[in-house]
Amino acid sequence: MTKAPEETPLAPARESAAQAPRPKPPLKAAKHVGFDSLKGIIAKIVLLGLVDAFAVYVMMMLFISASWLVLAVAAVVVLAINWIYLRKGGLPAKYLAPGVLFLLVFQVFVVMYSGYIAFTNYGDGHNSSKDDAVAAIQMTAQERVPDSPAFQTAVLQKDSALYLLFTDPAGTVQLGSADTALEPAPNATKNSSGKATALPGFQTLNFNQIVAQQDAILKISVPVSSDPGDGSLRTADGSTAYQFKPSMHYDAAADTFTDLETGVVYTDNGEGAFADAADNTLSTGWKINVGFDNFVKAFTDPDLRGPLLGVIVWTFTFAIASVILTFALGLFLAMTFNREDMRGKKIYRIIMILPYAFPAFLSGLVWSGILNPQFGWLNQTLLGGAEIGWLTDPVLAKISVLVVNLWLGFPYMFLVCTGALQSLPSELDEAARMDGAGPWRVFRAIKLPLLLVSIAPLLIASFAFNFNNFNVIYMLTGGGPRFTDTTRDIGSTDILITLVYKVAFGQGTGRDYGLASALAIIIFIIVATVSAISFKKTKALEDVNS
């Protein structure tokens, strides 16, 4: 779900950039007039009305669920949108507002939130707040008293106070409530199965009435006797009660759990869990801030550090090699198929684009089948039954991944290069030839520099995309073959993003969102740095040419 929107928005952006050198018609003036027309005003009112109607609906839902902060933010945003579009003037704001808004919500917020998670221990065992963890431990600690009977139970009401009427297996009937101790109730009426269902002076609740008051009923806990060791009676379904006895006691003031059987005291260990003196933790923990621990762990944990460096090197190799290979092949084919005198050009071009038309994850799966050492089509049919481990040998697997990615990626480069080539004025070509330049010279000195002006930003984008090219790696090799020097599930073809996925979604060691977010931030910093430097370089390229 995260990958799809990432790939698509780039595509229109790339195409627009590829065609950028063509001057746009002056539509600014025409638009300006259009806004004052009746049609423009109606369109504006209708669109704004729809937006406001939706916003009001969302705010009503937020009001019901009592999310006050989000509600306040939503209200401010809606007011700002109305102000921007209803006032006269401020044209740039009208253009930019939707983009900025979506940027804030879907990019800035997401980045900030990952940033926040990177400084917590959020993951398996540290899933929620401390209150939730305490409640969960207390709930788990409620154990049924061994060999105790099951009590048939009816729920009664008197003056809005709730009572439970218990019938034990021997037929003895007792009444109790949250405030009153257990007392015999010999006057109770029993039904045909021997269960006491009613008591004079009390109203018996039916199932729907029980469900309507379930929170209060679930809280009722009636001590069986003055000995706390006998536990207390509780019901979970309103028809049967059991004797429960807590195995742990929570002391809210001291913030400790005490095991009532062994007397061991569990205290908050500062790492989001309750631990005893020997550092045995209770199973449910909670989320806390851990500062830079996750970043430190990424570079010091011996299981992660060794592979991590290898993975970073391979990620760069993979991204750079993918860009160079796809660009080289795409450009070569674009030049070849750009010849005016070639016949059937359109058919060839359509065939060329086909790999681009398949979803990458699907192609990945198909290729992993083709490359299976024993049953794959490549080994079976083309190589006459050879057993070459295309995806199982560390070096071959890397080459296979690059080749498959070349197959997937060249059509895109072919497309943009074709577009850019066609936008180059043919006079330049002719002029150079008149001056006696050969085809190679024309390509090197004229076409390539002009092409690079429009294509260099796309190469950077392609680098960033391949740096995070999850589909190909995960579907083709799943990162394998595994490294032998680590106990984590990390392998020779893992790139950083697949490593992050495995850390976050627990392929082997349980989910660790905190560590995964920290790694994601490291990726972000790397990609941002590389992109910033490259864009600076391409700016110089543009200056030279204009």
Binding site: G99, Q214, L391, R482, G508
Partner: protein, 429 residues
């Protein structure tokens, strides 16, 4: 004109880029949002009015099995059980992340080996079956019990068995060596291409499917605690019997007899068995209907032994769990403990879903089908899959090591010991 172009073009380009990006992002996010808004109204509904519906997360395969029983519950109590179909691969983790926010469902259906993770994250609450527990198969109740408390109501049990193509081999064999010999004979006679099939993941092999062979050699994964649960502090995987099994893996593997072939994935194994290319296929009941549909006469054989002990498969138990933060906990408890545990409910879930019931009386009825009976008989020797949260780490190392041995890349004694040490380090045993 030239100057103006230079000024306006980049702005237009940028506006267009941002616009295009945000439009796509908006579409994508509204698609994402649709899921969350679809589930949130139920959550708010319950907190507000307190009674009308229970939400249950199920996967597409299990959903049809629950239609009848939820209709009956609605008829009896007026409470609607909303079945929200979720992707099986993601439902466990979604449940863990959503329950703390209060937006999760009241109930979830799943296999018992999720319990450890659920308890570790504090998202399910224990429940009581009382006397009803005696009606269930003992192994099913044991599987649903974690740290001494029962967390789920079981409804179906599953285990693997050896499928035999009766057209190729007429009689059952007791030991794995006999199986391989019979299989090899069919290959030598040209009737089949493979002596034996089992699906192996190209990265993780498959400790689950190979476990019966391992247990028959006297090796198991964890020792047991006094109450019969697994003791994660007592890893016995690396003991001498395990190393014997590791040596066998090499002998059966790519450098040995090739009975276990690391290139045969689950899909390939199934395809080859359905094509009649092997006499034997080690798999679960889920592949039987497809084989029968292809016209293959399948017999369900007891699991073959490789050593002198019984071959014990892992048992997977499906069941229902109650969210720790259910706003409708009493109704959910009523539905799970008093409806889903009844014979009628278990019968109807078997009729609609085809998984062998966990309730003894329902199972006896279902066992009229010889295939269900055969699988059930094999399951009686089985042991529940461990549910402890550390299990994911165990599977990963265990599988990778088995794969290396099957490929013949490693020395069994050192590699197996290394694996045991690594697992111990990870789970703190």
């Amino acid at each position: 004109m030239k100057v103006q172009d230079a000024l306006t073009t980049p702005i237009n380009r940028r506006v267009f880029t941002i616009g295009a990006f945000s439009a796509v992002a908006a579409v994508a996010l509204s698609a994402c949002g649709a899921n969350s808004t679809a589930s949130s109204p139920e959550g708010t509904d319950l907190t507000a009015s307190g009674a009308a519906t229970i939400t249950m997360w199920v996967d597409a395969e299990r959903a049809p099995a629950l239609k009848d029983i939820t209709a009956k519950f609605k008829e009896d109590t007026g409470i609607e059980v909303k079945l929200v179909v979720k992707d099986f691969a993601a439902v466990r983790d979604d449940f863990i992340t959503q329950v703390p926010t209060g937006k999760g469902p009241d109930l979830i259906v799943g296999p018992h080996d999720w319990v450890g993770k659920f308890v570790q994250n504090g998202v399910i609450s224990p429940l009581q079956l009382g006397d009803k527990a005696a009606g269930f198969q003992e192994s099913a109740i044991k599987a649903m019990t974690y740290n001494g408390s029962l967390y789920g109501v079981p409804y179906a049990t599953e285990n693997i068995a050896l499928l035999r193509n009766t057209g190729l081999v007429a009689t059952a064999a007791a030991t794995f060596d006999e199986v391989l010999a019979n299989g090899q004979k069919t290959v030598d006679e040209g009737k089949a291409k493979f002596a034996f099939l089992v699906g192996l993941d190209p990265k993780q092999a498959d400790p689950y499917h190979l476990y019966p062979l391992q247990t028959s050699m006297g090796s198991s994964v964890f020792g047991l605690t006094a109450d019969g649960g697994y003791d994660p502090k007592n890893l016995v995987l690396g003991e001498a019997a395990g190393i014997e099994f590791a040596k066998k893996l090499v002998a059966w593997g790519d450098t040995g007899t090739k009975a276990l072939n690391s290139n045969i994935t689950g899909d390939i194994a199934k395809e080859k068995f359905l094509a009649g290319e092997s006499a034997y296929y080690l798999t679960g009941p889920w592949n039987v209907p497809d084989a029968e549909a292809k016209g293959i006469k399948v017999a369900i054989d007891p699991l073959p032994t490789a050593g002198d002990q019984e071959a014990r498969p892992f048992i997977g138990v499906n069941g229902f769990f109650i969210s720790a933060k259910s706003a409708n906990a009493l109704a959910a408890n009523e539905f799970v403990t008093n409806y889903l545990s009844t014979e009628a409910a278990q019968d109807s879930m078997f009729t609609a879903g085809g998984r062998p019931p966990a309730l003894k009386s329902s199972f006896e009825k279902a066992a009229k089908d010889p295939i269900v009976a055969a699988f059930g008989k094999i399951g009686q020797d089985g042991v529940p899959m461990p549910a402890i949260p550390e299990m994911s780490a165990v599977w990963a190392d265990w599988g990778a090591t088995e794969l290396a041995l099957i490929k013949g890349n490693a020395d069994p004694a050192t590699e197996w010991a290394k694996m045991a040490a690594s697992i111990k380090a990870k789970i703190g045993a």
